[in-house]
Amino acid sequence: MDAYFYIILIVGLASTLLCVGAGVLKKAPNDVTILSVVAVEVALLVYLVGSIVRVIAGEPIAGEAWEFWGYMATALLLPPVAVYWSILERTRWSNFVLAAIGVTALVMAARMNQIWY
């Protein structure tokens, strides 16, 4: 596991805890929960840029390259979709939808790490 994974681990867990907390407190999605999901997206973008740089620098991906990039593309899509979905219905349940993004991103980052090394 590399630094990118640990960044996503920390940001993802923090986002999930924040969103679950807000959902338990019966709050609708607000700036804090939505921005925490944005932070997950930023962490994934850092991983994306870092990975592109490493590939250009000549570092090989041990597993299937297209599987790695498939995971990356899907992971990058999830936060915007979840935020959009949560804005359509602003209830506490949408915070639980947002909460799912952090853990999903961290599971996918773990899988991406496995493919890379």
Partner: protein, 149 residues
């Protein structure tokens, strides 16, 4: 305003009927979101397995593809309103429950025939047992939102 109904009853009946006919609100949204993630991951995984190493374990990978289709149907039907989509939801979630139980049991008792991983292997252990939990929550939600009466 409709003259045939008193203002108090008409909107109430309409609101109740409408809320019973949709399942994409409140907790249902979380359920649909989780189903959508499983639909995407199961489809990608099954597609990958079938394209790259199908001959290794055709039965397991066909099961993977079947699970992916079930998750897609469940996601779409839960998101759609109306009694027809409700029935499709119930069918998809029941198939999912049977699938995870049968494949889970087979993968334990007959690990020769089912050595390769699918979403439903070992009751979904590779996915934190969410595949086992999901149909139970799904049926509970569908029961609460059943269109009858």
């Amino acid at each position: 305003m409709d003259n045939n109904a008193t203002p108090a009853t008409r909107p109430a009946v309409g609101a109740a009927g409408k809320s019973r006919d949709t399942r994409n609100t409140g907790p249902g949204r979380l359920l649909i979101a989780v189903y959508a993630v499983f639909a995407i991951s199961a489809t990608a995984r099954a597609g990958y397995q079938i394209l790259t190493k199908f001959e290794e374990a055709p039965l397991a990978y066909l099961l993977s593809a079947f699970a992916a289709v079930v998750y897609i149907i469940a996601t779409v039907s839960l998101a759609k309103p109306g009694p027809t989509w409700f029935k499709i939801s119930v069918a998809a979630v029941l198939v999912e429950l049977v699938g995870v139980l049968v494949v889970g049991a087979l993968s334990i008792f007959d690990s020769v025939q089912f050595p390769h991983e699918t979403v439903w292997s070992l009751f979904g252990r590779g996915y934190a047992f969410i595949p086992l939990l999901l149909p139970i929550l799904g049926l509970a939600w569908l029961y609460r939102r059943r269109p009858s009466k």
